[in-house]
C-alpha cells in the first residue's frame, strides 16, 4: 500500500521546494517547467510558502537573481528547461565558479531548432561541463526526495556547489502519481538552515567575483574538480541518511535493478528506466540474465562505483535521450573511459532514443538490447522513422 497522495508532479515538486524553505525564488516560464512555477506562485499567494517570489524578464535574469540572493546568504530556488537553460548558460557556469549552493529543477526538454517542447535530456547534458552536480529522477517521488537531498549536498561545506535536479519534462511534472511528502517538522530535521561560508554583508565585507589571472585561475577549476570527486561519498552519505529518516531508498549514485548476475546490463537515466525495468522482468522470465543500472548522479560521474557495479557484464547497453552531435552520446562515452585500460572490458554500445519526446516503447528497448547483443555499436539511433525522406541524406 503506497504511502502518500495522488498528486500532480508539478504540485509535488512545488511542495517539496516549500518544505526546503527557500527564501528567494525566481524563474521565467518555459514549457514544460511552467506548472512548477505556477504552483509555487500559487503557494506564495496563499501564504503557504513564505518566500520572495520574483517574476523576471528572462532566464538569464532568473539565474542571475538567485545568484545575487545566494551570495547575500539565503537559500534560493529556480527552475527551467531547454532554451531557458541554454539562455542562462553563462550564469550557470558563473554560479558554480562562485561556489554558490543554488538548487535548480530542470524539466528536461529538447533543444531548438526545430522548436520542440517535449522531453529529452539534451538540455541538461549541454551543461555537463558547468561544475553543477546533476541528479536525475525516475519518478515524482524521487524528484521530491532529490530536491531535499540536493540542498543538503549543495550547502554542505565540503561541497558548496550548485545542484541541478533533472526531471523528464511532461513525463514527470504533468503526470499524476502517488507521492509521499514529509511534514515540515521532519523536513526541517533533515534540512537545517543554510549557513553560508561567505556572504555579502556590510558588517563583514567581502569582494566576490574577482578576476583571476593565468597564475591563479587554473587552481580554482582544479578545486572544483577535486570537490566534485569528494562529493561522491557525500551524496551516498546523504542518501543513506534520507533513507533512515524517511524509510525509503531514494537518490544516491545509481539504482541497480537485477544486475547482480546479469551478463547484459542496460544503463539509462530518468523516467525511461521504468520501461526498461519492465523489459528486464520480461526477459528475465524467459531466462535471460539482463539487468538495468539507472544512473541517478550523472555529475560527478561516479567512475569507481560504476566500474565495480558493471564490471561483471559482457554487454553494456547505454540508452540515452541525448547526444553530442558530431561526437558520440555522453554517458556511453564517459562509461567507455571508465573501463579504458582496466582488467574488465565489457562491450559497451551506445544508443540514442526518444529525442523530442518520441516515446520509448517496450519494443524499442527490446530491439536495442538485441541489437547490442548482436553487434557492438558506437552510437545507434533507435526508433527512427523509415517512411520519411531526409533531404541531403542518403539512406
Amino acid at each position: 500500500m503506497l504511502k502518500g497522495r495522488m498528486i500532480q508532479g508539478c504540485r509535488a515538486i512545488a511542495e517539496a521546494v516549500t518544505l526546503c524553505r527557500p527564501v528567494v525564488i525566481s524563474a521565467y516560464p518555459i514549457t514544460p517547467q511552467t506548472l512548477i512555477v505556477e504552483e509555487l506562485a500559487s503557494m506564495v499567494a496563499e501564504g503557504e510558502l513564505k518566500a520572495e517570489f520574483i517574476n523576471v524578464e528572462g532566464e538569464h535574469s532568473a539565474a542571475s537573481l538567485v545568484l545575487g540572493s545566494s551570495a547575500t546568504g539565503v537559500r534560493v530556488f529556480t527552475a527551467t528547461s531547454s532554451q531557458g537553460l541554454l539562455y542562462m548558460g553563462e550564469v550557470v557556469f558563473n554560479i558554480a565558479g562562485m561556489r554558490l549552493p543554488v538548487v535548480m529543477v530542470n524539466a528536461n526538454r529538447s533543444v531548438s531548432a526545430p522548436l520542440n517542447i517535449w522531453n529529452d535530456q539534451q538540455d541538461s547534458m549541454s551543461m555537463r561541463d558547468s561544475g553543477w552536480l546533476q541528479l536525475y529522477a525516475e519518478n515524482n517521488q524521487e524528484a521530491c526526495d532529490l530536491i531535499m537531498q540536493a540542498y543538503r549536498i549543495a550547502e554542505d561545506h565540503r561541497v558548496m556547489l550548485p545542484v541541478m535536479v533533472c526531471v523528464d519534462g511532461f513525463v514527470l511534472p504533468h503526470a499524476f502519481e502517488v507521492v509521499d511528502l514529509p511534514s515540515q517538522k521532519d523536513a526541517d530535521a533533515f534540512l537545517p538552515p543554510y549557513q553560508p561560508l561567505y556572504k555579502l554583508d556590510p558588517d563583514n565585507p567581502y569582494t566576490m567575483g574577482a578576476f583571476a589571472e593565468p597564475d591563479k585561475y587554473m587552481e580554482t577549476r582544479y578545486m572544483i574538480e577535486r570537490t566534485m570527486e569528494a562529493s561522491i561519498p557525500i551524496i551516498e552519505e546523504i542518501a543513506s541518511e534520507f533513507k533512515r529518516a524517511f524509510g525509503r531508498p531514494s537518490g544516491g549514485l545509481f539504482e541497480k535493478y537485477r544486475v547482480d548476475d546479469a551478463s547484459t546490463m542496460v544503463v539509462a537515466l530518468g523516467s525511461m528506466a521504468g520501461t526498461i525495468k519492465d523489459v528486464v522482468d520480461e526477459l528475465r522470465n524467459k531466462g535471460e540474465r539482463v539487468g538495468v543500472l539507472r544512473l541517478i548522479t550523472y555529475r560527478p560521474f561516479p567512475k569507481e562505483a560504476l566500474y565495480e557495479a558493471l564490471k561483471g557484464a559482457q554487454n553494456i547497453v547505454v540508452m540515452e535521450k541525448a547526444l553530442s552531435l558530431g561526437g558520440s552520446s555522453p554517458v556511453a562515452t564517459e562509461l567507455r573511459s571508465v573501463f579504458h585500460g582496466r582488467p574488465a572490458s565489457p562491450r559497451i554500445s551506445g544508443f540514442v532514443i526518444g529525442l523530442g519526446g518520441r516515446d520509448v516503447t517496450v519494443d524499442d528497448v527490446k530491439a536495442t538490447i538485441a541489437k547490442a547483443q548482436q553487434q557492438l555499436t558506437d552510437m545507434g539511433f533507435i526508433g527512427l522513422r523509415t517512411d520519411l525522406e531526409l533531404e541531403g541524406i542518403n539512406a
Binding site: G97, M98, R99, L100, M160, L197, Y198, P205, Y206, T207, M208, G209, A210, A212, K216, E219, T220, M223
Partner: protein, 90 residues
Amino acid sequence: MKITLGAVTRPGGSRVNKTGAWRTAGKPHFLQKNCIGCDVCALSCPEGCIFGTGQKTYYANEDFCKGCGICANVCPVHDIEMIPEEAEDA
C-alpha cells in the same frame, strides 16, 4: 597564499599595489602659499591619495600618486604645480 572558494577576497588589499611607481612625467608640488583649504584637490583625485585638514596642509601620498595632474589643474588658486619626478619636494 590561499585560494578561497569562489576566489572571495577580504577588503582593501589593493593597498599593497604602490601605483606611485607608475609616475614618469611628474608629481604634484603643493606650494602652500595660496591654499584656501577648499578640499577640491582631495575631492578630485582619482586615487584618493591627497589629504589635508585645512589651509596649507594638503599633500599627495607619493606611494599611490600616478601623476595625472588633475589636482594641479583644478586648484582654483593655482597652488599646485607639477614638477619633475626627480625634483625634491619642497
